[in-house]
Symmetry: C2
Subunit: 333 residues, 2 copies
């Protein structure tokens, strides 16, 4: 294994100074002839600038820390892929940290992220404490929450319009003629879970209906299935809004497979996210689509604005459409 080739090696071969080499690769001014000599020497030697060294001096690592949980919920790998693509286009790369959903180790994770001198942090599906917010602020590292809101006004966040979306679902279910409507919520320790539950309740109220029951599905298939059974069997619900698609699939499997109920004949099911599985015929789930592409763009734009100090803290909510499929009874006419 050969010694690493550095800018000095290139300089020697090209017959210019090391600074000249640096200038060529950092896009600073350099004459055509210097450019040419340097590029040829670099090519011959297989030289590429060391980004860590560059980062040390510029204070920009071009690394974005991404904290993510729930990778078994297809929404997240999909979002990670799109975030990665958009960030790569801008010359940034993702250092990924996986955590459990309910907030353990998040602090430790953030510390490690800061050690790596990331230029910014995207926290997907993870809540952030005030201390952590302060610490990042003190370190000058901008944070954007993806698919999670934040109580305070200090952190940027990008979500779909969870309240409006859930209200749309409520309206749809009532219009479908359902009278015993229940909600298997997302984890009520998350803003997303809370906002969807709030919006749903409000939507029902606006349509003159009431919620028969609500249980916390904890974003888990098994828990959601159990809660759905409680709502349907014990409380006689004939329609369920399930807080995300991932849980909704578990609910459908349990209702059909174990309880032998028909969907939507016996129970209507509506989810939230519109992950690609939702359109698979085995589920054909009616669900509110999260506008992932626009959420991703907004997240990256916000983060870049913060990093480059051209933008400010943003709280963005994007409306998504209801994807009407066959898992829930459709309104007549």
């Amino acid at each position: 294994m050969n010694r690493k080739v550095t800018s000095l090696d290139v300089a020697l071969r090209a017959g210019v100074s090391q600074s000249a080499v640096s200038r060529v690769f950092s896009g600073a001014s350099a004459s055509k002839s210097t450019q040419k000599k340097v590029r040829e020497a670099a090519e011959a030697l297989g030289y590429r600038p060391n980004r860590l060294a560059r980062g040390l001096i510029t204070g920009r690592s071009r690394i974005i820390g991404l904290v993510v949980a729930y990778l078994d919920n297809q929404f997240y790998p999909d979002a990670v892929e799109r975030l990665s693509n958009v960030l790569q286009e801008q010359g940034y790369h993702i250092l990924i940290f996986t955590v459990r959903g309910h907030g353990e180790h998040v602090e430790d994770t953030f510390n490690q992220l800061l050690d790596y001198q990331v230029d910014g942090i995207i926290a997907a599906s993870v809540g952030i404490s005030d201390e952590l917010t302060d610490k990042c602020a003190a370190a000058g590292i901008p944070v954007v929450l993806f698919n999670r809101g934040h109580e305070g006004r200090t952190l940027s966040h990008v979500t779909s319009n969870n309240r409006a979306g859930a209200a749309k679902i409520a309206e749809f279910l009532v219009a479908g003629g359902h009278t015993r409507i229940g909600h298997v919520s997302g984890w009520m320790g998350s803003t997303t879970g809370v906002d969807r539950a709030l919006g749903f309740a409000q939507g029902l109220a606006d349509a003159g209906a009431t919620l028969v029951g609500q249980e916390d599905g904890m974003y888990r298939r098994d828990v959601a299935a159990e809660m759905a059974e409680k709502l349907v069997v014990d409380q006689g619900c004939d329609a369920l809004f399930v807080g995300n698609d991932h849980m909704a699939f578990g609910v459908m499997d349990h209702l059909r497979g174990t309880l032998n109920l028909r969907i939507p004949d016996d129970v209507s099911i509506v989810g939230y996210d519109d992950v690609s599985i939702a359109s698979w015929v085995a589920y054909d789930l009616t669900t509110l689509r999260q506008p992932t592409n626009r959420m991703v763009s907004a997240t990256v734009d916000t983060l870049m604005g913060l990093i480059e100090r051209t933008g400010d803290t943003q709280h963005i909510e994007i409306d998504g459409p209801l994807m009407i499929r066959s898992s829930a009874r459709r309104p007549k006419g």
Copy 2:
């Protein structure tokens, strides 16, 4: 935003030299009293060592580059999560690069990875050209292929035993009484696709059966569905081995949803991977389980051995069990 706190700040406050601070944090020798003074000062100042600076001098970034495609196939996010967890335990972190499945941009991706001075590279579901292999070797960066083999002997790789696994499936299908057996293969441009096809053909031959037809599913749901239709409708297959679960779900959806066939009554379907969706009752897919945990451990162990120069190139194939569920007819008795 405060200026970054450095080891010098800590040294000043603790009344020791900057080297002493460094020693405390790098675990080199330091007296109890120095340790104490430094830790207190660091705590008070909120100091944490800059890993980039450390990496510059040690030549170890503690970053592992992970190149991955097909994130819509649940096998990969699952593997990424486990790789990330195991690596994190060892003090490494993952810089993630997403690429398309069929090998474009892989070269560019690797270059960027090298720019970041990664200590090693894991390529999941990505093939590597010989030039790329050489380049990484020249840079002294070890590469381990995950879930892909490699023609040459120079690259380490970890897979399940694709041939044995596929042979096991062939045996199972023949024992189930099927006589018209087809294969929707994984992309034949990948070693995984090829090995499974080879093993399947061999398994059939060993069981005294022959393959009715084989089509390339390209690891895509839609393509696989189309090829399955060809095999079943045009060639009268009554059993299909589909090269991975992700395609198998697409095939099942198409067969049941569009062609109105019953599984396994009309057609038996067997997949490969045993992603968690496979056990969902909507599919209940008979499939060969990839031993993901062991593959991940083997991958990380191999990579660590290479990085620390304590280990050698490895070619590891791990056997996985056939998970018998209801998507394929079971042998009698």
